[in-house]
Symmetry: C2
Subunit: 133 residues, 2 copies
């Protein structure tokens, strides 16, 4: 049983055949696929799954705190499994490749900034766009 399946169990998300397949594909994905790409991968395992189910599942998993949704430039939402460790993203403007990184100093400064403005930080989004040197 893969990671996402386990999370579904622990969060009380009902598991169907389709959801298991989507869970498996996302669990082993090391990139950040959009729904089309995910649908393509899932279809190779079960060609009868509809894209509506993929959309519904991905939304369900997101609402359950299992997947993270990213709206990077490009119009299509991209997903990744939520991991214990928080990270941000650097997007290669030429290839679309995504590199994950962690920077504690930036994290702390964000909290400080929000605090100074009289806000409690709920969430944040940091994306760097760059090109290979």
């Amino acid at each position: 049983m893969d990671n996402i399946e386990k999370k579904c169990k622990s969060k009380g998300v009902k598991l169907t055949e389709q959801r298991k397949i989507i869970a498996k594909v996302m669990s082993k994905s090391r990139d950040h696929p959009d729904v089309d790409e995910l649908y393509k991968r899932v279809s190779e395992i079960d060609s009868k799954i509809s894209i509506a189910t993929v959309y519904r599942t991905v939304k369900l998993f997101e609402e359950s705190g299992i997947l993270a949704k990213h709206d990077f430039k490009g119009g299509k939402a991209r997903y990744e499994e939520i991991s214990e460790s928080h990270h941000d993203h650097l997007i290669d403007v030429n290839t679309g490749e995504i590199i994950e990184f962690v920077n504690e100093d930036i994290e702390k400064l964000q909290k400080t900034v929000a605090d100074k403005l009289g806000y409690q930080l709920i969430d944040h989004k940091l994306e760097l766009y760059g090109k290979k040197k």
Copy 2:
């Protein structure tokens, strides 16, 4: 002549009656309107302007480096005039209100991060989502 009109002149962007109106409205906007809101404001000055023109103009201004486009959560793109001084945004999750802020330390760290990963920083997006304390 407002700020945006001046920028159009200096960048060689042709000015039409419609573009002048859109320029004026954006120039005096202190918030970050989406296209619908902008269209509404523009329509009060000239009710014959079509929303297609607003979309086209906003895109043209963005490509000319006159307006900045933001894809905050919520599905609709929001725009603001590009000012000399760079800033990031804190979005009030309850009201949708946007507070601008500047933090040089974060800026520097971003460059450092990209650099360490072997990238030249082209652009970045930092959004904080918070609620009033």
